[in-house]
């Protein structure tokens, strides 16, 4: 058993025995050493005193050379049996007297050595001076046997040993009894502690012995046991209630979880079934969620998009309005665009950029976008239809005006001349003149009605477009105007014209009107040039109604006629708009309106430019068909 493991009883006894043993040993040893030292000192001092007495007494014997007297003085040493030899040396160092007589002078030192005594193994011997006054007369030698001293020391040692042994025995017996005072309460405490730790029985209590610190310890231990017991009970109760609480909480949590799942699923369903495009981006503008509409519209897969940034998924959005809007929303400001063109796909969208906040910190942006392309398109169509309606309305208004004015004018003439004819029916020549006037007015009325009819028919026409060779159309027009061309002495210079998709009768009417205009508004021999070229892309922007994706022909009819003020270049295409009076230049004011109608029917544009007296240029822009330019007709 290790020492630290041995019982406290043994430890206590060991402590007591070791302490008392050490004390006893030290005491006896120091006493013994002290004895030896003092014994030597005392012995030497006594010897010195004896020597001094002998030396003092023997001065006269030495001074007056009386060795017999010296020996007599030395004989006094008989009183001390321990002094075994003594001798007097004279001033010259010769042995003068000796004691005892029986001892041979050979046993004495031949001559005195230095003064003083020294211990040998068994003797104390030495010299001391013989002095009278301040004059040294000789030296005294003394030798003392120490066996008696040592015998005495042995006796002391024996006694000390006996005392140690007895004391140790006494200490053992006493400690055996005394240690119980301390060890018994501790052992009892230890026994109780063992019972507690082995059986976990906190109801046992240690027996208290006395009111000292150990008694206090026992009390404290018992109090502690009591507290542990109480706390154990408390913990058990607490545990039970805790378990109950945990069960309740778990149940609540499960319910909440189910509810949450249900809600989540609900929200997910709403988001994914929404026709709106929904996306969530984080602070680094990375997609964290997108819905089905998003996937379908942009033709992407959720796995390709989520976790990547906007500009990674759609590089074309870099530095566009979308990116700026998202940044703005990340700063906490909602952004809304009622109409915005998409940077990724063709189309229009209404978009909301809504900052997602958590305690004032923006952690992302909710992007909700609604495809309004179809609405915009329909809107455009509506706008167009509306414009059409407005113009048609205007046409109707003009038509009413014609009905009330242009048609009434020849009718009024017919009424006036018919009245005059009734009053002057006897006057043959007058009658003839009035009848002619009536005839002319009615003829003009017929022309007007025919023109109006043809215009209105044009508006309603639903004929399909066919490939039409414009060269053939122009040849037909030239032959129709053959007589007038000859009368006016006109020249028509015409380049090779293309084949276009169109309605041949309408295209014939178009060229007939343009050429008839050029022949009509001219005071000299008319020169008419017809040119054609592909409309340059740069010029295409001049005409807003043209499609950007379509190629066009530009056909110009240039004359050297009277021209018109450039401010009228739009007005002249309005129905019944005449720039010149009817007396000088005949016409109904419908021709150019008819031309515009025809060109618009062919998705083209017609414009005019002129200065008074410098001729006019009519430019007709028509869409190209795939066939390209046709070969000129044989004529």
């Amino acid at each position: 058993m290790k020492r630290s493991d041995s019982s406290i009883q043994k430890k206590l006894m060991r402590v007591m025995l070791l302490t008392s043993g050490a004390v006893l040993f030290l005491t006896c040893t120091s006493y013994f050493v002290y004895e030896i030292v003092t014994f030597r000192q005392v012995t030497e001092a006594q010897l010195v005193i004896v020597g001094k007495m002998i030396a003092t007494n023997s001065t006269a014997a030495l001074a007056f050379d009386d060795s017999g007297e010296g020996e007599e003085i030395l004989h006094a040493l008989q009183a001390d049996p321990q002094i075994v030899a003594a001798g007097l040396y004279d001033g010259r160092g010769k042995l003068f007297s000796r004691y005892p007589d029986s001892l041979s002078y050979l046993n004495f030192p031949a001559a005195p050595r230095g003064d003083g005594y020294a211990f040998s193994r068994s003797h104390l011997e030495g010299f001391q001076p013989v002095v009278q006054g301040d004059k040294r007369l000789g030296t005294l030698y003394l030798k003392m046997e120490l066996s008696a001293v040592y015998q005495r020391l042995q006796l002391y040692g024996l006694i000390a040993f006996g005392v140690i042994g007895f004391s140790f025995l006494l200490a053992y017996t006493l400690s055996r009894e005394l240690q119980k005072v301390i060890s018994e309460p501790i052992l009892s405490l230890a026994q109780t502690a063992r019972v507690v730790s082995q059986r976990f029985d906190y109801s046992v209590r240690a027996k208290k012995i006395g009111n000292d610190e150990l008694g206090l310890l026992t009390d404290a231990f018992n109090t502690m046991l009591g507290q542990i017991e109480a706390q154990n009970q408390e913990i058990r109760t607490f545990n039970q209630s805790l378990e109950q609480k945990v069960r309740e909480r778990t149940h609540e949590l499960e319910l909440a979880n189910q509810e949450l799942k249900r809600k989540n699923e609900f929200v997910r369903t709403i988001i994914h079934s929404s026709v709106q495009i929904i996306a969530v981006l984080d602070q680094q503008m990375r997609y964290t969620a997108i819905n089905k509409s998003f996937e379908q519209l942009y033709r992407v897969d959720r796995q390709q998009v989520v976790g990547r940034s906007l500009t990674e998924v759609f590089p074309q959005t870099k530095d566009t309005q979308v990116e700026r809007d998202i940044r703005e929303a990340l700063r906490g400001n909602p952004v809304h665009h009622a109409v915005a063109r998409s940077a990724v796909i063709p189309g229009y969208f209404e978009t909301h950029f809504i900052p997602l906040k958590e305690k004032e910190d923006v952690y992302g942006v909710l992007l909700v976008s609604h495809d309004i392309t179809r609405i915009i398109e329909v809107n455009d169509q509506l706008k167009k239809a509306n414009q059409e309606l407005i113009r048609s309305n205007q046409d109707l208004g003009q038509f009413a005006y014609v009905a009330s004015h242009d048609l009434q004018e020849p009718l009024r003439k017919i009424q006036v001349f018919a009245e005059l004819l009734r009053h002057k029916r006897h006057d043959e020549t007058e009658t003839q003149r009035y009848l002619e006037k009536v005839h002319a007015a009615s003829g003009r009325m017929t022309t007007l009605i025919q023109d109006v009819l043809s215009y209105s028919r044009l508006a309603r026409t639903e004929e399909s477009l066919v490939e039409t060779n414009l060269n053939a159309i122009l040849d037909q027009v030239k032959s129709d105007f053959d007589l007038l061309i000859q009368q006016k002495g006109a020249t028509i210079i015409c380049s090779n014209l293309p084949v276009v998709k169109g309605i041949p009768a309408q295209l014939g009417q178009l060229f007939a009107n343009l050429i008839s205009n050029a022949l009509k508004f001219n005071r000299q021999n008319p020169l008419i040039r017809i040119t054609v070229r592909e409309l340059p892309e740069s010029s295409r922007a001049l005409y807003e109604s043209l499609s950007q994706a379509q190629a066009y022909w530009e056909i110009q009819v240039i004359d050297n006629g009277i021209g018109f003020e450039s401010q009228y270049s739009q007005q002249i295409f309005t129905i019944f708009q005449r720039l010149n009076n009817q007396q000088t230049y005949s016409g109904t004011g419908i021709g150019l309106a008819l031309c515009r109608k025809i060109v618009e029917n062919h998705q083209g544009v017609i414009v005019a430019s002129s200065e008074p007296g410098k001729g006019a240029t009519f430019t007709v822009v028509l869409p190209q068909c795939i066939a390209g330019i046709a070969a000129p007709s044989s004529e």
């Binding site: 007494n57 001065t59 014997a61 001074a63 007056f64 050379d65 009386d66 009278q132 006054g133």
Partner: protein
């Protein structure tokens, strides 16, 4: 140097004495030793440094030996000197006076005078004590022995050490 030698020769020639015998040399040492065992009264010395004088009267058996023995010796604070007196009338104040055996002329008076002056008188004549001396030195079994008249020394005011008295023959003739 030559002068010193001449002076020495003259002195030797003047005394013309043989070298002292062993016995005389022992006696010279005894004379000196008496200074260690005898106490003189205070008034015997006029000053603290005054010398202790050993006088030799008449014939001087010691030659220069006694002077050699006492050279550098002292008794307490008193240096020891030796003086020599040819006759009784030459006597000067001293502390120890040695009278050799041959000098008997007017001796009792001189000794009496010395006793009165507190001078320790030492002699080796057989009748020295009878003539009024204080210490007689005599030869016995090859050794020099002492005979002392303590009454006279006491009368002279001298104190002799008991140790000295123990050695001596105190029987008064």
């Amino acid at each position: 140097m030559w002068v010193a030698c001449l002076l020495l020769l003259a002195a030797v020639g003047l005394h013309a004495q043989p070298a002292p015998s062993l016995e005389d040399r022992v006696k010279a040492v005894f004379l000196f030793n008496f200074t260690q065992f005898v106490a003189w009264p205070e008034q015997a010395f006029p000053a603290a440094e005054a010398p202790l004088v050993i006088g030799v009267l008449g014939e001087n058996p010691f030659g220069t030996y006694l002077r050699e023995v006492v050279t550098g010796e002292t008794m307490g604070s008193h240096p020891i000197v030796v003086e020599h007196y040819r006759e009784g009338k030459d006597l000067k104040p001293c502390h120890i006076l040695f009278v050799s055996a041959g000098n008997t002329h007017r001796l009792p008076e001189i000794l009496q005078e010395c006793q009165e002056k507190g001078i320790l008188t030492v002699g080796d004549a057989p009748a020295f004590l009878a003539m009024g001396g204080m210490i007689r030195l005599y030869r016995q079994a090859g050794k020099i022995r002492l005979q002392i008249n303590p009454e006279r020394t006491r009368a002279a005011g001298l104190t002799l050490s008991a140790k000295l008295l123990r050695l001596a023959d105190l029987s008064v003739p």
